[in-house]
Symmetry: D2
Subunit: 390 residues, 4 copies
């Protein structure tokens, strides 16, 4: 944590042998340090008690003060290390996936991009399979480059191509197989840290090998054929399941939706979030809710030369630059970013993005940003707040 509580000193040795360590200190708002207080604190330690008055500053701040820090991971470096892992680390039962997670530097070396979010690069060599398993952690894949892997979800092979977003709700069986002669890398997002702290996790191994029938390589998954028609619900789909029944949101649709918004704005009809800032949320076609119970996914396009207003939100996000280049600002930190770069936005840190004008002669040059966050958790529990900084 970024702030040491007043009276705790985990290094201190005490007579009690208790994990609780309390040290009376002279400070405003604290009781007078007397032998009697010291004795009381020894009593607290012995009974495994901690007073509020020594902890309140850390536990109940005026506004969220994240333990995490803003941080940027360069795609080039990630891909390089992932490719090296492709050479050295086999994929198989036990390790399960060749996935390498972003570790926020302020979170004690844990593989957590933020206190609630997991983001990893996954890498699969030509012809390789990642074995089937299922878990309660909600997950998705997002493809910033490459193609050739099919994720097989409940027996349905889902292709993965640049720009595709594949949500996968908890407790669905899934495996990956690379059907090509090229390695492929993509991004996995999960709520692993959230389920780790709330202790909700279940995990089961599935088949070591998927069947030959599942090794087919269709252009559209069966889920897309059932659910991928705008505004049309198959009558055969009787009831809701947690998470989206649509297993792939193809890039062509996302791209068209964002282009349409910018054009509508140009024609004078609005449609964007703010000038030059188009954005969509990936939604569950069954009920319009977030694609996953604990994770929200969005795609933002900042038109060439445009800039977004700084916004703070409770909860954290991870972004990946999909295309273009620009400058993103998280709190006091700014980075010039380019394709594939990933960065973490901690709770209540103001975020804004600016597309680089003049970096290209063409009319293109929008900054395209994929984002995922823990917003559904906050909304479900009525803990969400948003603030637009002036």
């Amino acid at each position: 944590m970024t702030e040491t509580s007043l009276a705790q000193d985990t290094a201190a040795d005490t007579a009690t042998g208790s994990p609780v360590r309390l040290q009376a200190v002279a400070a405003p708002g604290q009781p007078d340090v007397t032998p009697a207080l010291e004795e009381l604190y020894r009593g607290f330690e012995q009974e495994l008690l901690v007073p509020l008055w020594t902890e309140i500053g850390d536990l109940m701040p005026a506004h969220p003060r994240s333990r995490a820090v803003p941080h940027l991971w360069r795609w080039e470096r990630l891909r390089h290390l992932a490719a090296r892992a492709g050479d050295l680390v086999p994929v198989g039962r036990g390790g399960e996936r060749r996935a390498i997670a972003l570790a926020n530097p302020a979170l004690a070396g844990r593989p957590f991009a933020t206190p609630t979010l997991w983001a990893a690069i996954q890498y699969l060599m030509p012809g390789e399979d990642a074995p089937e398993h299922r878990h309660t952690q909600h997950a998705f894949r997002f493809v910033v480059e490459g193609s050739g892997v099919w994720t097989v979800v409940g027996g349905d092979p889902v292709p993965m191509n640049r720009g595709d977003f594949l949500p996968q709700a908890g407790w669905n069986w899934h495996a990956h197989h690379n059907a090509t002669a090229e390695p492929m890398a993509w991004i996995d997002g999960l709520d692993i840290p959230f389920q780790y702290v709330t202790e909700a996790q279940f995990f089961e191994f599935g088949r070591d090998e998927i069947s030959d029938a599942e090794r087919v390589t269709p252009e559209r998954s069966r889920s897309e054929r059932l659910w991928g028609h705008p505004g049309l619900r198959p009558l055969s789909a009787a009831s809701a399941t947690p998470g989206s029944p649509l297993l792939s949101y193809k890039w062509a649709h996302t791209d068209a939706a964002l282009s349409d918004q910018l054009l509508l704005e140009k024609e004078g009809f609005g449609g964007t979030v703010e000038p030059g800032h188009a954005a969509v949320r990936y939604a569950n076609p069954y009920d319009g809710s977030d694609v996953l119970p604990t994770l929200r996914a969005e795609f933002h396009r900042v038109a060439r030369g445009a800039e977004t207003a700084p916004v703070r939100e409770t909860g954290s996000s991870v972004y990946q630059v999909f295309d273009g280049s620009g400058v993103v600002t998280v709190g006091d930190t700014s980075w010039t970013v380019t394709r594939g770069d990933l960065f973490a936005v901690p709770s209540w840190a103001p975020f804004s993005a600016r597309s680089e004008a003049g970096t290209t002669d063409s009319d293109a040059g929008a900054l395209d940003l994929f984002r995922f966050s823990d917003a559904p958790v906050f909304e479900a529990l009525k803990l969400n707040r948003t603030q637009k900084d002036a």
Copy 2:
């Protein structure tokens, strides 16, 4: 955490100076330890990356394996130390409350009864006031003994008497004042750890002193007069607010509801959860939801000689014994408990309770248990599971 991950050694010193520390180890499911792998791991450290294959056992267990442990706190000891704090620790702005929290011995001395729940004994001396503040953390009070304090919520003085349950949703102004010549102790429950890990917290100081008009000591709060009539909603209450508008659930009602259930069962009409086990959930009269968005509160009565079946649930609970005595079992641990004792039940630990037969000649002798848990979090996010052990 209870399990050390394979490759992390937080004490290790490395050349990278990174918070990430990875150590290649020879183990099943792990890649061969080679100089190349060591070099890869150094690269991960430098880039703040952690592989899944070294962490998966800790992060994605087959079922929830709590970092917390079952633990019991004896009321007698708590009350004694709280009374001593009454002598030594003033209540005022800054420290805010004379509250002393249960610290689960497996949670590194943090004031967390479980990974998501805060439970504390609060103590107010004769004539004392705790100053007004508000916070997004959802809170409640439960009174196991004594009386004489009024909690003033948004200007509405709510009396506190044995058996009363007072929910208080986040962001409501509140103060406490002891209107009598006796000290009073009670239990505070909050979602402080949950909001700490998700980083949702806001906090504001209110007035240092409540007004004279708020120092009245009515038997019923205004909230009870508006909302405390069974099945009747005031038409003047236009819209929902997070959390229950009913600020006190009086003991007489809870007691009657539990007695009625046991009588209905005796008459052959069911009504109990299982034989001899009556239980109610405190509910928001506006919409029947949990009294607080992140906390569930229940009251259980185990009839004399009865025993509940062991149940596991995702999520954790804290219980306080309200009356009677008996034996409670959490996982492999059993305790004989009596009035006021508090204990923590970690996620997925099986829990059962048995009322002591023969400890009394009278017809009474039921074991009365107050319980609160983080169940609404799990249900809202579709992470809830329950399993009845045979």
Copy 3:
């Protein structure tokens, strides 16, 4: 209907023999009357077609223009005729109930108080039983005077006393039995007209005789013992059913809730709908929704000398005067009303009530009004509108 459509003349004889009768008329907004138009209209008749342009004024008015009219039924007369029916009309299988319905004078002699609501006086002689049946129509009983009947719902005998409100959702088995030596009258409210026009009705005969075990006369039904504790939900109640699980809302609670509101107002804390106007909605304790999916029930108390502001609402209501006396105004009609009187308020007719000051020396004298309406239908379908007349 109150307005004859332009081109329809149901008495007219035409060559087509069709139920459709169209007559070309010279009127603003209508096509020129020519032989060709006449021929077109004959073609419409033959093919069972009706043009919009002749009907639009009737079908699509600027605001709801009810086919029903405001009307008052005097309790004294109703009770007298019901008692006479007690002498002459047996209760038994086939006729099912000795219930006599209010027939709005503008609804063609149909037993509909309004286009969607049924209200009837039901009468049971000493010792008499009304046989068991069930139907999809949602129903309730309200008792303006007397006592001695138990309604047996799914085997649970529910007492009926002055001021009690007994909701009974569709498809529950129910019978009535008079356990005393006195006849008893009460009010039945149902959605019979609504289900008649939407054609949703199912009906089944049950047992001709309830069992001896069901002839007991408890003071509280089992449903009250399980669900009648404010804010407390039995854990044994697993899931929702259509309509309230609480089968009686006792007068003592309603009376106390209304008194509390008027006192809170007097103390300066609001709580009423408007000055001197206390009101509660009967709510489903499971989820706070209306007690019945198609019917809302409320109780209004207009303090002595107070007056309510005229309000229009989409949808219709029936009121019964429970106590006091006063003047009620529906549209252009005003009546001085007293205990037991019933009146219908059509859709969008402004309604207000004034309690008679000076009619009594005592401090009492509030006008107590029971009300039921079809509001849940309008709210569920987003057709609700309310307008407060200045």
Copy 4:
């Protein structure tokens, strides 16, 4: 109504001059006809009362027994008469629309296809405009043939082409203009009868002429550009409105969705409702609900040679044959149907459809059926029931 109630004789003349007419009759379940009973009935008439025992058979049948009857309207005849109306009946303020409604022969010549549903053919001549208005009635357009009209909804011109479905929730301004040199016909569906009986209607005139800027003829409406991308919600769309924000569901999508289902079935993966029977529901992309609060719309494709199982539902439907030919059966009535034919299915009447095998040499020949119904009303009020006949 199809059944005359026992004691009512609306033609009878009585001394009371009341709209209520009661006649004592000797019949099972009825009281003995005596002078006293006759006198009682005169009393009922005078007080505007109707007993349940004479009406129960009509009002509370064992199952829905619709006042409507199955009926078929031939498209050829409708279009012919509509074209003739194009010559004779101007479109303008007052009459508002050249719409000609289906009148169920058992509903007394009223322009109601079923007791709750309105279905009409609307016809617009080359260059013609239908003036702007808005109403609370929920409406849609469906195009079985032709093109060239744009419906301007809130200023957004929406093209209309064969197979397109255009929902339009209540209280949205709308006009139509024919931008071509050809007349065009289409189908309007509304909940006019439902709002007529519940008395919820509001109506307002808008501008007589739409602006030149609204006379543009884009291929896609702005609503489609914002909302027509599968699974993608524009972030700029802050909140829900009643009814779908997507104003056109284009035929290409509907056709593809149905083809995909039949192919999935062929490949062994299900996806159809039953063998050879593909079906989609038009859904609100905001929340997956029905496109209109009171109306459900679906499209069914019965593969060549396939047959659907007879199903009964509470509530009524209107179907239009979009393509192919076959035999449809409603209750005891069967018709051979072809493109454009419309038919009404009353509440609880069993419905099935069979595609004509052998009527074509090509592989095509599926029977394509557009359907709309009042199902959302029944589901919102928990009155829905479905029964598959063996």
